[in-house]
């Protein structure tokens, strides 16, 4: 079974570490759905959250091969039931401004933003930029809802994950 797994890597923030990890994943044929990286509260330590596909054996290899990299401090498999996961998205939409219907459109988008706890980041010139964050499922739902409007651009982060407890 090629299930999805979430790997969390704690790494030393040294030059080339992103390259090292992406080289490893591509060379070993590990399928990456998404990869998110950023600093942690500890100076010099960054954290990767990588969503991969593969069975248990593949996952074990990913963990062990990542752990072999000298800059990788810990490699853990995040159990979705025991972790919190978040994604973030920004979407730019066009709405018509010339007639009544245009305002309706903007209003409707605003309702979606409110309903899903998003935020309006910019508006004007017949365009809106909105942000959403939440579970993958929620972000999927938002994108589904926005499909009936004219989406000009969109971007999503990968997952950020953290173990509970």
């Amino acid at each position: 079974m090629r299930e999805r797994h979430i790997i969390s890597l704690e790494v030393e923030d040294k030059p080339g570490v992103l390259s090292r990890i992406s080289t490893l994943f591509s060379r070993r044929g590990f399928n990456v759905d998404s990869l998110t990286v950023g600093h942690t509260h500890i100076p010099g330590i960054s954290r990767f959250t990588i969503v991969v596909r593969g069975d248990g054996e593949v996952l074990e290899q990913i963990r062990k091969q990542s752990q072999k990299l000298i800059q990788v401090l810990t490699a853990t498999d995040l159990d979705p039931a025991q972790s919190v996961m978040r994604e973030f998205a920004i979407v730019k939409l066009a709405h018509s401004t010339k007639d009544e219907k245009g305002n309706e459109e903007a209003k409707a988008i605003n309702e979606i933003v409110d309903f899903y706890g998003g935020r309006m980041l910019d508006s004007g010139h017949g365009q809106l930029i909105v942000e959403f964050s939440g579970s993958e499922k929620k972000i999927e739902k938002v994108f589904e809802q926005l499909q009936s409007y004219k989406v000009l651009e969109s971007i999503r982060t990968g997952k950020l994950g953290m173990k509970i407890g």
């Binding site: 790494v11 030059p15 490893l24 054996e57 290899q61 062990k64 990788v72």
Partner: protein, 552 residues
């Protein structure tokens, strides 16, 4: 005058000082604009630079050196093509776990990223073929980077490390602190096997009916041959090996069965595939050439796997009892705890009834190889024997059996043609009292034959035995088996005159074209203690043997 830990030196001087402190005796390399400060700083130092004729030669020399010396081999190349010429050797060292410290010059920092002359992204190119690599961006990183490279290369699962030095940094003065030591929180190799797992393993061995030991190159790398032999003597387990498990247990040992894998022995393969009910695999990655195909290996056996690299455990084969640890340290613990068993007369008796058949490419006068290699094995003195890659390698692996010539130095994982000659030269630099022999083929020899000049320059007692069949026999064999005997691109022709080649470089060349010449010429070449090439004309020898047989 001792300036204490902190010294104002150029980057190149600091580098050489560290090499000296590490006890590096020789550095195999090739100069270029970006690494000249290092060669300059080597003048008058304790480290001897050895000039190869191609950077690939340099790194295979460093590999041969490392295998004999059990210490990192050091290689130095310049930027751009110098660095890319190291890639094959780095990959070879990574797959066979050879400790190498590779140093490369890089273009000046201000030009990096501009596609300047002789610029390549050495750091990223060599990333997947090194255990660890770094590009130095500031002189303050130099000491730590070198200390890390030497430490990482030669601990845990050994392997190649590379440091890329921009040339401006090598020339600039800096107050170096030589007391700095790396802190590597992400690198903590487990050396001592878990005691609970060891107990489980011992119990499984005790309870098994047909247990065997499978040994790999890890035994040689961890210098655990005495511990392995003690383990085998005590447990009385029959032994099979991989290609790199050569020279660990004598072939005439009553408990030795043979080699497994595609070019192993039928009997050894039958045992690991079907007959054994427990396999104790030690110091092997259970690579696909050994385990042959998914589902073939250990069909009826439980598997105990002891290896220094946790990622090798469970990678190819499902393991019942994994033990992560250094082979030597862990075997010492096992040996203290395992019961001594009486001599297994049954193994000897059982072996007598079986034919130990080597699975070798046999077409086109291959039987001559057996005669040549058996003659080499009759040489009574200590030798370091390297091979190249191809048909001769597989035969050498079975017929080079003299314990004084083993372990065989061969490129197993990467199968690098052209490895043997420079590796033999490197082996000599690690042990200058001993004659070195390179068993090669005409195809492999031509890949790095320029390095023969290095052997002549240093008057190295080396004998290059070219198994000359004027073709790429393994390719021909593959075309016979898988391509309906459609032969192409395997013919190397007869135009190369190896005698003249040897002489043109200042060495000695011999031609062997009759069966009766084999032993005397090998003997003469080895006794000469001079750089020699012997051209074994396989077709002619086969013909002479045939005529002789007809005559008698």
């Amino acid at each position: 005058m001792d300036l204490g830990a902190q010294q104002e030196l150029t980057g190149a001087e600091a580098l050489v000082k560290i090499l000296e402190e590490k006890g590096v005796e020789v550095l195999f390399g090739y100069p270029g604009g970006a690494n000249l400060p290092i060669f300059d700083a080597l003048i008058g130092s304790k480290v001897q630079p050895v000039l190869s004729r191609h950077e690939q030669g340099s790194i295979h020399m460093a590999e041969g050196y490392a295998r004999v010396k059990h210490a990192p081999g050091v290689v130095l190349a310049t930027s751009g093509p110098g660095a890319t010429n190291l890639v094959t050797g780095l990959a070879d060292a990574l797959l066979d776990s050879i400790p190498i410290v590779a140093l490369t010059g890089q273009i000046p920092r201000e030009n990096i990223g501009t596609d300047a002359f002789q610029e390549v992204d050495c750091f990223n190119i060599t990333m997947p073929v090194t255990k660890h690599n770094e590009l130095i961006r500031n002189n303050s990183e130099l000491v730590l980077a070198l200390e890390t490279a030497f430490y990482v290369a030669n601990t845990g699962r050994k392997g190649p490390c590379l440091i890329d030095f921009p040339v401006d940094l090598l020339a600039a003065k800096f107050p170096f602190d030589f007391d700095e030591r790396p802190n590597l929180p992400g690198y903590k190799p487990t050396t001592k096997g878990n005691i609970g797992q060891i107990k489980k393993a011992i119990k499984a061995i005790k309870n098994a009916e047909r247990p065997i030991v499978l040994i790999g190159g890890g035994i040689v790398l961890s210098r655990a041959i005495p511990e392995l032999l003690e383990f085998v003597r005590k447990s009385q387990l029959p032994v099979v090996r991989t290609l790199l498990g050569t020279g660990v247990i004598p072939v005439d040992d009553p408990l030795y069965i043979g080699m497994i894998g595609t070019h192993g022995n039928q009997l050894a393969n039958d045992i690991v595939q079907k007959e054994a009910d427990l396999i104790v695999a030690i110091g092997t990655k259970l690579g696909n050439r050994s385990t042959v195909a998914k589902g073939m290996f250990a069909q009826n056996a439980k598997l105990i796997h002891l290896d220094i690299d946790p990622a090798e455990i469970g990678k190819i084969q499902k393991v019942d009892i994994p033990i992560v640890g250094d082979v030597k340290e862990t075997l010492q613990i096992i040996n203290e705890r395992i019961d001594e068993k009486p001599i297994r007369e049954d193994v000897v008796a059982w072996k007598k009834g079986k034919k130990i058949e080597h699975m070798l490419p046999t077409s086109d006068n291959a039987e001559v190889l057996e005669v040549v290699l058996k003659a080499l094995s009759q040489m009574d003195q200590k030798l370091h024997v390297t091979t190249d890659v191809g048909r001769h390698q597989m035969w050498a692996n079975h017929y080079c059996t003299n314990p004084k010539h083993l372990p065989l130095i061969t490129s197993a994982g990467l199968g690098t043609m052209g490895f043997g000659l420079p590796a033999a030269i490197g082996a000599w630099f690690a042990d200058r009292g001993t004659t070195v022999v390179n068993v090669s083929g005409d195809g492999s020899f031509m890949m790095n034959m320029q390095e023969f000049l290095v052997a002549v320059e240093h008057q190295i007692p080396i004998v290059v035995m070219i198994i000359n069949d004027q073709r790429l026999s393994m390719i021909r064999e593959l075309q016979n088996m898988k391509y309906g005997e459609r032969h192409t691109v395997h013919d190397l022709g007869k135009s190369m005159d190896y005698i003249k080649f040897a002489e043109s470089m200042g060495g000695t060349g011999y031609e062997v074209h009759h069966q009766e010449m084999i032993f005397p010429i090998i003997n003469k070449a080895i006794a000469s203690r001079k750089p020699c090439i012997i051209d074994f004309d396989i077709a002619k020898i086969a013909n002479s043997a045939h005529l002789k047989a007809l005559g008698s």
